[in-house]
Amino acid sequence: MTAGVPRIDPVTLQVLAGALRAACEEMGAVLVRSAHSANIKERRDCSTALFDADGSLVMQAEHIPVHLGSMPDAVAAILSEQQAEGDLWILNDPYRGGTHLPDITLISPVFIGGELAGFAASRAHHADVGGETPAGMPVDSTRLDQEGVVIAPTRADDAILAELVDRMRDPRQRLADLRAQRAANLTGIERMRELASRHGAELLAAGMAEILDYAERRTRAALAGFADGEGEAEDVLEAPDGDLTLRVRAELRGDQLRLDFAGTESQVEGNLNCPLSVTRAACLYAVRVVCDPDGPPSAGAWRPVEILAPEGCLLNARPPAAVAAGNVETSSRVADLVIDALGAFADVPANGQGTMNNLTLAGEGFTYYETIGGGQGACPDADGPSAVHVAMSNTLNTPIEALESEFPLRVRELAVRRGSGGSGRYRGGDGIVREIEALEPMRYTLIAERRRHAPRGRDGGAPGRPGADSVNGEAIPGKAAGELRAGDRLRIETPGGGGYGDGDG
């Protein structure tokens, strides 16, 4: 320990960690409360975080797992820039700190006594970001710029924000949501300053460093508890014109884990590509599930994890590859893949539904986007829950009574898809059936996985049933777009989770 750095005792550690967590939660509350779009308010598809002056993510409000591991890259993207008090950075470029275009991140440097002390950041999934298809989730994009407005890291002011939202649909709602994000950042700045004035800026900085170390120690303690070894796993993504293979090799040496994706397919013409930050987020989700589910949401937790993905592969794509589905679908598959590989030395669950079942319906004057839950894979000691979001998402559904009051849609069925979870000593969770009738002409876009390949069981457990989708009873593929006439019915049946162990639990 360097001389002059205040010693952080176990109590101060908890006190500062608690205060920073409360600050992040308050940022999240400000964002959800003052945003306008249903996507943020009803579904809570957003995250807020505080960083130290080196750009390490110290603490985050826990909303959406895919945001947790990927936010550090957003701050890294502006770290080399000159920072000034009152700066506001905006970005969504997946190749420069973003994930996919609908996720817009705002970052504010925090100055205390004239010194850069850290960053406050907020990320929200916006209902639309311009582009050829409403909602920024096209099924067939091949280049990033087809998916919406690409925002490189930019120092923003009111004029720049106004200019950006003018290129998107419903600019007033966009601007209101961006203002809500800015309000969240300002709350974070204020709370960090209060902590510095109470404890001193030096102790706050030392405390943030200690929170990162603490999270690291917890992960290392968990990794050290497993026997050294290697695990390999292989799985596929269901591209429209064939399967894409993903591979990982996990190597555990003491308290250090390496995940190497060599052998994974190269980036593709479609939009299942991931920037490395999304791949990293999925890896870290898996490591956290296996090692330390209750640890603080802090970047220190993944210091012991080294991630290698060959440049230009599907999981470390280069511009201008399209990435819309990478964040939602490929990330889900990477989480499965890594959990499977870690199964070589740790107890891990069977595969969950492994998709978010992204559905966009858009017609005259409206865009509705929703993701649908499914079955969770069974664990070594418990059944998998039914009808929940698994892995990288955890957004709420839109109430039927809200949906039908706002859009020309009628929900015909919302039910648990009985029997879709795999059998075993512990059963996989069941998926969901959601059937929607169009009341006027509109266009649908579906992006879903696990339609051709079932979520796998573990240790002798049976696989879950793959998802199945149809229009008026006629099957459609998992990645589909088309027109619905008034009276047409779109039915989504989401996958069940895999079972665990032999037997009929």
Partner: protein, 662 residues
């Protein structure tokens, strides 16, 4: 004489107000049948006051029967009738999982199993009936459900808040087919939009009502047999209802217990200050916090209890698992943690000497000199300071800390958890805590109040003389209240003064029945059309639409920083409550000389300090400066250096922090 009885997890408290004289009693709670402990506490407090049961004019009861049954899943065998295609709503919930990183953590089980969920072939949409409910279908369902013989049935159909006719048809048929079962229809429980939350509320109502009916029946009988008046029951809204009404509507009493505390906090805030206070009720296992604004408890219209939403008007009480019995431990990363595990009453903290050897918050308070080693806690427990020290020393070694450091740490970490709860009800709701007094109560609240006030930069504390039994006092003061609401979704030409006042009149008529002397509370829940959430704007029964629009725009601007004159205004819900004000108790401070003077060493700012201790009920006008400790009859108030206190006419210790040392 006014009587209030509050049943808590460990103790049942009674408060009897005779003029301005307050008598209190504490007896052990009787979990198998709470009414036995209730009657025992009544007998104890009457004996203390030398009064007869027949002198009691009103008897109000707060209970945890409903909450416990919900937490332990011990309610009635309940069936559910839903719109065809939607019987699983209750199980799908909002599709979120309870724990992000524990894949197999399960949400609480649906209170109605799949075999007791029935679907009705009918459908109502946002503006019209899409599929009629034929009489033959009603008969079929009534027959099938009668066959399954549930104790209770919940009915929740889509859009019943728009058109309740199908639910009413089914409810009538089921009441005839199952005369002994309790039937809850969502349009009767509370006709508000968002189907899952409404369904969950209706199911909880059906699930709890039979049990509540039996319990309240026993209590009413026992009261009558002793010459007591028929009890009134505290509901989650902070107002009371007669036994028959409470027994018919189980979902409305789930927060009966905490509501008494919140109303008690409101009474004291009105009596001792400007009516603005943050209530902090810390007991053995948990801590409840609430905000009192202008003398009224803040309410909310929805919350979750043990992971199950209830969409009804309730006092806005937030609960965290930090109490005197919360256990301190070292986690694998080497951090000191407190709770959520609690030593409860058995074995209790190490210092109770009943076999507990894990250190708790109470043990730390004892080691630090905040709690007197020679004092008896409520219920006659004698504390063993050596046992507390041993337990803390073991933990201290594991963390590489000195024993005293560890004790201080336990208190700081527990305070952190409570400070988070206080932030949730204040800053996260847009309330600036610095404008409020902290009003601590419950056995442990006043011990932590000063540290929490400093954490939230609050400068005032009001610690009531009756802080150990404030919930019971709140029951004495509670008024009658009946709430109702309707989802209207009106905008544009439909949003007229005539339409609103006629809706208010209808709702008012439904809640005012046989409540004499009522005031009406009307709240308009408005939003800009297209927004997902509404703002609650109080208004008159005969509203002016332009004035409502202006109030809404002003509130929107205050909360979100702008108004939008171009957007259309939409009325989502109309809420109406009939309220009969309760009595305003004025407890009086003790006569001069009731408190003894002592001194003892206590730990403040990392040092042992010789602190003044006032034991017993302090007299009005008594002053003290921190460091000092008030050992009140049922609670201990700890004031560090920098605080000055004076006792007011009601016996409340009013403390203020002079700047500087904070």
């Amino acid at each position: 004489m006014l009587l209030g009885v509050d049943v808590g997890g460990t103790f049942t408290d009674a408060a009897l107000l005779s003029g301005d004289e307050l008598h209190t009693a504490k007896v052990p709670t009787t979990p198998d049948d709470q009414s036995a402990g209730v009657i025992a506490s009544v007998e104890a407090v009457l004996e203390h006051a030398g009064a007869e049961p027949t002198e009691v004019e009103a008897f109000t009861h707060g209970m945890t029967v409903g909450t416990n049954a919900l937490l332990e899943e011990r309610g009635a065998r309940t069936a559910l009738v839903a719109t065809r295609g939607f019987a699983d709503l209750l199980e799908i919930r909002r599709q979120a999982r309870p724990s992000l990183y524990r894949p197999c953590a399960t949400p609480p089980a649906a209170l109605v199993g799949a075999e007791l969920r029935f679907e009705a072939a009918e459908r109502i949409g946002p503006s019209e009936v899409i599929e009629e409910l034929p009489e033959s279908e009603v008969e079929r369902l009534a027959g099938a459900i009668a066959e399954a013989a549930p104790e209770a049935v919940a009915i929740c159909l889509l859009f019943s808040f728009r058109d309740p006719s199908h639910e009413r048809q089914l409810a009538a048929a089921l009441r005839e087919a199952l005369p002994d079962a309790h039937i809850s229809a969502s349009c009767e429980v509370l006709p508000a939009f968002r189907e899952y939350e409404r369904c969950s509320t209706t199911v909880i109502d059906a699930y709890l009502s039979p049990l509540l009916g039996r319990y309240l029946g026993r209590l009413a009988e026992a009261s009558a047999a002793r010459g007591l008046p028929a009890p009134l029951v505290m509901r989650s809204s902070g107002g009371t209802a007669e036994v028959a009404e409470a027994a018919e509507s189980g979902a409305w009493s789930v927060l009966s217990g905490p509501a008494g505390g919140a109303v008690g906090a409101a009474v004291l805030a009105r009596l001792t200050g400007d009516g603005n206070a943050v209530g902090l009720d810390m007991g053995g296992t948990s801590c409840d916090v609430c905000v009192v604004d202008g003398g009224e408890v803040r309410r909310t219209d929805s919350r979750e209890i043990a992971g199950r939403p209830i969409q009804l008007p309730m006092v806005d009480v937030h609960t965290v698992g930090a109490g005197g019995g919360s256990i301190a431990w070292a986690d694998p990363g080497g951090a000191l943690r407190v709770g959520p595990r609690s030593a409860g009453a058995e074995p209790g903290p190490a210092s109770y000497g009943r076999g507990g050897d894990e250190p708790t918050v109470t043990d730390a308070n004892l080691v630090l000199g905040y709690l007197a080693p020679d004092s008896r806690l409520a219920g006659g427990v004698e504390l063993d300071a050596d046992a507390a020290r041993r337990a803390i020393a073991t933990l201290a070694r594991r963390l590489g800390l000195e024993q005293t450091e560890a004790a201080e740490g336990i208190v700081r970490v527990a305070n952190q958890e409570m400070a988070r709860a206080l932030r949730v009800v204040t800053v996260e709701r847009g309330v600036d805590p610095r404008r409020y007094a902290l009003l601590p109560f419950g056995g442990a609240g006043p011990m932590h109040a000063a540290a929490l006030a400093e954490e939230l930069e609050m400068t005032r504390i009001a610690c009531p003389r009756a802080s150990g039994v404030l919930s019971a006092l709140g029951l004495v003061a509670a008024g009658r209240r009946r709430d109702t609401a309707r989802t209207l979704l009106l905008s544009g030409d439909e949003l007229t003064a005539e339409r609103l006042s006629s809706e208010v009149r209808e709702l008012a008529a439904s809640v005012r029945e046989d409540l004499a002397g009522t005031e009406l509370e009307v709240v308009y829940e408005l939003r800009y059309r297209g927004q997902a959430f509404e703002l609650a704007i109080p208004g008159p029964a005969e509203p002016d639409v332009a004035a409502l629009a202006e109030s809404f725009a002003a509130e929107h601007e205050a909360r979100y920083g702008y108004r939008d004159p171009a957007a259309a205004l939409e009325l989502v819900n109309l809420r109406v409550a009939a309220v009969v004000r309760g009595p305003e108790p004025r407890p009086r401070a003790a006569e001069r000389g009731a408190a003894d003077e002592l001194r003892r060493e206590a730990r403040f700012g990392g040092e042992w300090v010789d602190a003044r201790v006032l034991r017993g009920e302090p007299a009005a006008g008594e002053r003290a400066e921190g460091p000092c400790v008030f050992e009140l009859p049922e609670a201990t108030l700890v004031l560090p250096p920098g605080w000055r206190a004076e006792v007011d006419q009601t016996g409340t210790v009013l403390a203020e922090r002079s700047g500087g040392s904070g």
